[in-house]
Every structure is written in C-alpha cells, then in structure tokens.
C-alpha cells in the first residue's frame, strides 16, 4: 500500500513536469528578423533555381527570395534540398519557407500553407520524332505501346497518371535524365513544367517536337510555410501584392522564362 502511493506520487510529480506554461510563441517573421537571415528551401529546377559556372545559385526563385529578404531587412540564405524531402524538411524546421517554384496542390495544402500565387506556369509536353512522330494532342499519347517520362513528385507526373493511364509512366528524380530518355528514343514524350519543353525542342530540333504548343494545365506556384503562421502569411502576401503591382515579378518572369540570354551563365 505504501509503495503504491509512493509510485502514484512520483508519477504525478513527473506528469506536472511535462505541463509547460502556455506563453505566446514568437511568430516566424519575428524569428527571421531576430536571426537576421531568411532561410528558404529550394531544389534545382531549371530555370527556377540552378547553379551558374561559379557554383552560385541563380534563377527566378533566387531573385524573388533575395528581393524578399532585402525588403524584410535580412540576409537571404538559400538551402538546396532534395525535392522529394523538401516538405518534410520544412516541417522539421530546416528552413523557414520554400521559395522554389512549388505548385499549389490540394495534397500539399494538407501539410503546408501556401501564400498567394505569384508565378503561373503549367505542364507542357515535348515528344520524340523517332518514337511518336506527328501527334497533336495529349490524348494521342494514351496508348499502351508508348512510354512517357516525368519527374517524381511534380504535377507533371500526376497529370500523366490521370490523363494517360494506358501509357507506361516512368518517373525520375530529376528532369535531365527524363529528357535524356526521350532523346535516346526510350520514351515517347516528356511532361514537365513550361518552358522546359519549349527550350528542349529548340535545343534538339532534329530529335524533338512540340505536339501541343501551349501548356496543358494552369499551375499556380507559391511559397510554402508551416501551418499556423497567420502573421507571417499576411506580411508575405502583402509583399507579393506589392511586387506584382510594381512589375518586379513580371519582369523577372520574362527574363528567366520567356527568353534565354542567361544561358551562357550556366552552360559553356
């Protein structure tokens, strides 16, 4: 009897140690300003983010992030991350935001909160002249004899699974091997975000062609943050609205997506 009450008392004391006083937690934006750096996760996605010849990260999302950080009065620290694990890394606190051209999807919205969309692309398709010549629509690729390729974990892969159930879908961890498969004649088509298919068709006019000129879907890309940060969300959304209004985002989008004068920075 005596031992049991002692045990119960010990248990109760231990339990009270776990009860923490509820005090106001600092918001993400306060943390960023206190730390003096904005850490953003991204992955290599030409031309959203890529490495130039000096090893520095350049691209559309780098310009957006650098401008956001300077407007907030902090330094910008991009953290290259494998795309497959970028949301778990955000949730584990490795960085503050994902500024890497992440498309808003319902599945992702269950784990993270998205800001207002600030970049609008879509999934597009480029096909092999050798394996599947002369096709002019997405549905034409829905045949069991055709293989299509896409990057794992992207809306392009999801679209391929939904719209091309009869075709064989092969998924890769990056876009470059996927393109190589089509160039080698092992796949009929590559689905990925615009403008890459158009760039690929320009680079390899003898091997590739565009079955459909325009993007197949409309995608909204936004920044992602952990759930439960309303104050930070308001600040970032206000910043996005301001940068849309003064044309900064449109100008940067045109530079990176609608022309390729930046190519010598990356390739010899």
């Amino acid at each position: 009897m005596h031992r049991r009450t002692l045990l119960a008392a010990a248990g109760a004391t231990a339990a009270t140690a776990l009860i923490r006083p509820a005090f106001a937690a600092t918001t993400l934006i306060d943390e960023i300003k206190a730390r003096g750096t904005l850490r953003a996760g991204l992955s290599t996605f030409v031309p959203w983010a890529m490495r130039d010849k000096t090893g520095k990260l350049i691209g559309y999302e780098l310009d957006v992030g650098t401008r956001l950080a300077s407007d907030l009065g902090v330094k910008y620290e991009p953290m290259p991350t494998a795309w497959d694990g970028i949301i778990p890394a955000l949730l584990a606190g490795s960085f503050d935001l994902i500024i890497g051209g992440m498309t808003v999807t319902p599945a992702r919205e269950q784990s993270v909160d998205f800001t207002e969309a600030y970049s609008f692309t879509g999934v597009a398709i480029v096909a092999s002249k050798k394996v599947a010549p002369g096709l002019t629509s997405l549905d034409a690729f829905n045949k069991p004899s055709l293989t299509v390729v896409a990057r794992r974990g992207t809306p392009a892969a999801t679209l391929a699974q939904e719209k091309l159930p009869l075709a064989t879908l092969r998924q890769f961890d990056d876009d470059a091997p996927a393109l190589q498969e089509v160039l080698n004649g092992n796949a009929a088509a590559w689905l990925t975000s615009a403008p890459k298919p158009a760039f690929a068709a320009v680079d390899h006019p003898d091997a590739l062609y565009l079955p459909v000129e325009k993007p197949l879907t409309a995608q909204r890309d936004a920044m992602a943050m952990r759930k439960g940060e309303p104050a930070t969300m308001a600040v970032i959304n206000q910043w996005i609205a301001a940068r849309k209004a003064d044309g900064f985002l449109a100008e940067r989008f045109h530079y990176w997506f609608e022309q390729r004068s930046w190519l010598p920075l990356v390739q010899s």
């Binding site: 730390r35 290599t44 030409v46 890529m50 490495r51 130039d52 010849k53 000096t54 090893g55 620290e77 953290m79 290259p80 991350t81 494998a82 497959d84 694990g85 778990p88 890394a89 584990a92 606190g93 490795s94 990056d174 876009d175 470059a176 091997p177 393109l179 190589q180 160039l183 080698n184 004649g185 390899h204 091997a207 990356v266 390739q267 010899s268």
Partner: protein, 275 residues
C-alpha cells in the same frame, strides 16, 4: 590487357551509336577548381562536395567504431540483457534498407536530439577562431546541425556492421588463448585487453578496410537528405549544365580515386601487421 582495352573500346562505340548525346568535356575542370579574380584558385562545387564526403566518411567511421566496440562487447557478454539489446540493434540496422533508416533517422535526430544539444545557438555565438576550426573539421558552420545529424545516423547504421566484424575477429581467436590467459589468473576484461584483442586486430583489418570503403560509397545516400556531398553537388551540376554523362563519369572517377587510396592504405596496414 589488349582484350580488356578492346572490350572497353567496343562498349564506347556501342554507347555512342545508341545514345543521342553530344559529348563536351570542356566545362569539367571549372567545376572542380575555378579561378576567382579576388581570391585566386577556389574550390568549385565538385571539390566542395568531395571535401564534405571525406569529412562525413571520416567522422562517421570514427563514431561507427565507437558504437561498434560497445555493441560487440555487448554481443559477447556473459549476461543476457546486453546480448539481447545489442543483438536487436544489429539485426534492426542490418535488415532495414539504408535509405529508410537515413530518412527516418535523420528527421528524428535533427528535430528531436539536435535542438537539445543547442547546436544552432552555439554556432551563432561562436568566436571567429572556433568557426574557422568548425569549417575545417565539419564544413560550413551554418550547416553544422545537418552534418552532425547525418554523421550520427550513418554511424548508427555502419556501427552494426563494424560490431559484427569486431565480434567475428574476437571469436576467431582460439579458445586455447582464453584458457591460457585464465590460467595465468587474468580476469575477463584483462584477457580481452591484453591477450585476445591484440591477436584479433590483425584479422579484423581487411574486413574493416572493406567496410570503410563501403562507407565512403554509402555516404552518397545522404544527398537525399540534402547534405551537400559529392553526389548532391554532381546532381546540381548535371541538371544545371544538362551535361549528364560527363558530370557523372567525373564524379565516379573522384569516388574511385578516394576508394583506391583507402584500399592502398589498408593493404599497407595489413602488410605491416603481418610482419
């Protein structure tokens, strides 16, 4: 020799005809070392990645040996509990795919254990001298937390294999040596330390060498948890320049060079112990 060269030439010829690929190697030296106007010759992405891989492998091996010794001693213990616990640890680590272990282990370690150690605060308030030391030993100070998490997880994983190698080495020493040591009046620990381990050591070196070489190659898994090792950097370079094959062939050559160096080192060690 001629047959090998002929076969290699045939493979290259076949690959050329099948692949629709325009080879261009000119950019490779720049990805290893580049000339900066202000700082002279600076390491570029691939060399930075290689240094991270070397640091990661070295620290993981060290830590894995520590874990391995503890677990091996547990495995040969006369008491049931140490034997059960260390046996469970070895079976868990050896029979789970390393990718799963790294993913789950890394997120657990970095979000639960690392904050307790206060790494971020330490790095933020450290002196420049300390930061310099951290840079040489562990790489960039701001990535210290990630580096230590990855090292710990890799060490936990490899520790199981090291433990089995150590256990095999100890158990391969003849029972006669134990009996003779006991007859001299040495206790169990003294037997182990003075008689058995010195003899077991020479037998453990070849498989330990193989395990270390394997560790260098296995460390490429950490690129999936975004440690910027050689594989991660090679991937960035390959995707940014769209020159897949040249980048990956160069990366394999770098891994090969490191592993060959280790292999030669271990062979020298074996020869010295055999004398």
């Amino acid at each position: 020799m001629l047959a090998v060269a002929g076969f290699a030439g045939f493979v290259v010829f076949r690959v050329q005809t099948v692949l629709n690929y325009h080879w261009s190697w000119g950019f490779i030296p720049n990805t290893i070392l580049r000339y900066d106007a202000d700082r002279g010759w600076v390491a570029n992405l691939l060399l930075q990645g290689l240094l991270t891989t070397l640091r990661l492998s070295a620290w993981s091996m060290l830590l894995a040996c520590v874990f391995g010794v503890a677990i091996a001693v547990g495995r040969i213990s006369t008491q049931l509990l140490p034997r059960l616990v260390s046996g469970a640890y070895v079976e868990l680590m050896r029979n789970t795919p390393p990718l799963v272990l790294i993913f789950v282990g890394y997120f657990f370690v970095s979000s639960q254990i690392m904050p307790l150690l206060g790494i971020d605060a330490f790095v933020r308030t450290a002196q420049p001298g300390t930061l310099e030391l951290i840079f040489w030993l562990f790489g960039e100070p701001r990535l210290l937390k990630n580096f230590l998490s990855a090292t710990m997880v890799l060490a936990l994983f490899e520790g199981a294999y090291v433990a089995e190698i150590l256990r095999a080495g100890i158990q391969s020493v003849e029972q006669g040596q134990w009996d003779a040591a006991r007859a001299l009046g040495l206790g169990r620990w003294a037997c182990l330390r003075l008689v058995v381990l010195p003899q077991a050591f020479a037998r453990m070196v070849p498989p330990l060498g193989g395990q270390m070489i394997s560790l260098v190659k296995d460390s490429s898994i950490v690129s999936l948890i975004s440690i910027q090792d050689l594989t991660f950097m090679a991937n960035d370079v390959a995707v940014s320049t769209t020159r897949l094959f040249e980048t990956w062939i160069t990366t394999s050559a770098l891994y090969f060079a490191v592993c060959l160096l280790l292999s030669t080192g271990f062979r020298r060690l074996e020869r010295r112990l055999a004398r």
